[in-house]
């Protein structure tokens, strides 16, 4: 059953909500205005903690807990909104911006107030130039209405929000690489700890949250923790904008409460509408390119963090790629690892060399159809040398496609080796 009231994709309830006047008419910016007048930042942090909101960018870390890591009394602090969405299968951030941009900006502003910060940057991947313009306009409208700038609504609170466009590098979605990029350096990850909440942008306490995460905040504060928690499950409250793509009839973004079975997302005529041509499901990648693969036997997995983890994968960014039996597993692994090879920043050896050699072997096998006797042990040996040894999660993620393919479809690799 589709939601009657959406939390994020509210254009489905209010068709012109991307217009500032319409957003205002349905109560937009009122939550922020009331919070500035009536609530302390600490009270807001507590409500976000109580709501159980979890980071939508992939890690699923509780947002309020993350905010609580900020060291007391250390200023300035920065808020970064991560819109560097660049992983195969992910495509909800820029659509949320297209459809409901003002809620994103209100979410950034309200969260900035909650963490007592006066400068927020929205880091968008360079390709999202038109979405960046949309947000620039939404920000300009918020300034004009007095919701941003100096001494906002006479409360003494100051806030500036800026858009910063990246220039084509997936790694900049990694939070510390994002900060390096924003500082004008190569987008390469930093060693953690120190974590960004303690020492982040320009060495100051910094909170980084995904677009979808921050867009939830005004709704939590407006409608209350109990209302929010009436969606989803105990440990994964709220809704998620699932991005489904691949061989389904109706690829797209669908906002569902957490816990809906994978089968419903794929098969329901309300959502992806089943497989093209009625072909069987072969591979399901449930949480972006870095998630271990599932198969048709996992169709009853509930789509929440715990359910997908119990099935042996991860919910990640909620980007679900579904492939039918027309694809060959070694080829899917090749294409996925080619992505990670291209996007490897080159900083650490296991990732830089590991992705290079994986792709070299997989290209010969999957594209040229030529296998050598040692290929399968070689592939196992390469990913084992990467696993647990990479500087950041990019390299670790590159292990998943090849490991899954070898585990689930060994016969397809053997067939290539046998010729």
């Amino acid at each position: 059953m589709p939601l009657s009231e959406y939390i994020i994709m509210r254009e489905l309830n209010h068709p012109d909500i991307n217009q500032f006047a319409v957003y205002r008419r349905v109560g937009g910016w009122e939550t922020y205005a009331a919070a500035l007048r009536e609530q302390t930042p600490a009270a807001l942090v507590q409500q976000v903690k109580d709501s159980g909101l979890r980071g939508r960018g992939g890690a699923g870390f509780p947002t309020g807990v993350k905010w609580g890591f900020l060291p007391k009394g250390v200023y300035p602090r920065y808020l970064l909104c991560n819109c560097d969405e660049s992983e195969p299968g992910t495509f909800n951030n820029h659509q949320i911006i297209d459809r409901n941009p003002h809620q994103v900006i209100e979410g950034v502003a309200l969260s900035a107030y909650a963490i007592e910060c006066h400068t927020a940057y929205i880091y968008m991947r360079g390709e999202f130039a038109s979405a960046a313009l949309l947000l620039e306009q939404a920000i300009a409208e918020a300034y004009a209405a007095g919701f941003l700038g100096k001494n906002i609504l006479g409360t003494g609170y100051d806030l500036d929000i800026y858009i910063h466009r990246g220039a084509g590098a997936y790694i900049c979605g990694e939070e510390t690489a994002l900060m390096e990029s924003l500082e004008g350096k190569l987008g390469q990850p930093r060693l953690k700890p120190p974590f960004p909440a303690v020492e982040g942008l320009y060495g100051k306490p910094t909170i980084i949250n995904n677009v979808e995460t921050l867009a939830n905040v005004p709704r939590i504060i407006e409608k209350g923790v109990a209302w929010y928690r009436s969606h989803g499950t105990e440990k994964s409250p709220g809704t998620k904008c699932f991005s489904i793509s691949g061989h389904v009839n109706r690829p797209g973004n669908y906002e569902l409460p957490f816990g809906v079975p994978l089968r419903e997302l794929i098969e329901s005529p309300e959502y992806a509408g089943g497989m093209r041509g009625g072909r069987p499901v072969k591979i399901i990648i449930p949480g972006g390119a870095s998630a271990p693969w599932l198969t048709a036997k996992h169709l009853d997995t509930p789509l929440d963090y715990e359910g997908v983890a119990a099935a042996g994968s991860m919910l990640g960014s909620g980007a679900v790629i579904v492939l039918d039996d027309s694809v060959k597993a070694p080829h899917v692994a090749y294409k996925m690892d080619e992505f990670f090879k291209h996007e490897s920043c080159g900083k650490c050896t296991p990732c830089r060399e590991g992705t290079h050699w994986l792709v070299k072997v997989l290209h010969r096998m999957a594209e040229e159809g030529h296998g050598e006797a040692n290929d399968i042990p070689t592939l196992h040996s390469i990913y084992r040398q990467m696993e647990g040894n990479c500087f950041c999660l990019l390299g670790e993620s590159a292990v998943m496609p090849i490991k899954s393919a070898l585990e689930l479809f060994p016969e397809e690799f053997e067939a290539i080796v046998k010729g």
Partner: protein, 197 residues
Amino acid sequence: MLLQTHQAEIETIIGRYPSKRSAVLPLLYLAQDTYGYLSPEAIREVAEILELPPTQVFEVVGFYTLFYDRPVGTWVIQVCDDVPCCYVGAEELIAALKATLGISEEQTTADGMFTLQRVKCLASCDRAPVVQANLDYIYDVHAERAEELLNNLRARAAEAKQRGVSGRFAEDYLLGPQGIVHIPRDAPYQQERGERK
């Protein structure tokens, strides 16, 4: 020189950050929009404005894929070839574009109109195959639409030339009374979930 032609814009950009170095990406975009690509002189100019050693700007240009350190076509056509695009028509589209244009990936047509690139994830998997032409997204471009796509782009280049718009990334953006206005070229999403144009 950028500092002469875009001084106010440059000052605004630098003013957004506590550190000048943070302005390196926006200023490289500005230089690229103005000059068409990032020549060594353009890169040194950005370094000078930001008081950075030139090597720190050169390495940034090399790191990010949207910066071009050599001349490119009026249109840079980027086709995503990742999963799932590659399984729903991206490879066929790339083959059609190569055949029609008579070039391979990373090459530019002799008339200087098109540069063709294979790229990684454009984050629009629901409307694959997807193309980004300069900074415009064009969705659902199956191979049979290749010819139409190229003709549209040629017509837009001619139109931009007539308007006297300079800079290869600027042709779709006009300065209106309310600021920058984007002229949408591809049908927007319809509000109804799942329905396509």
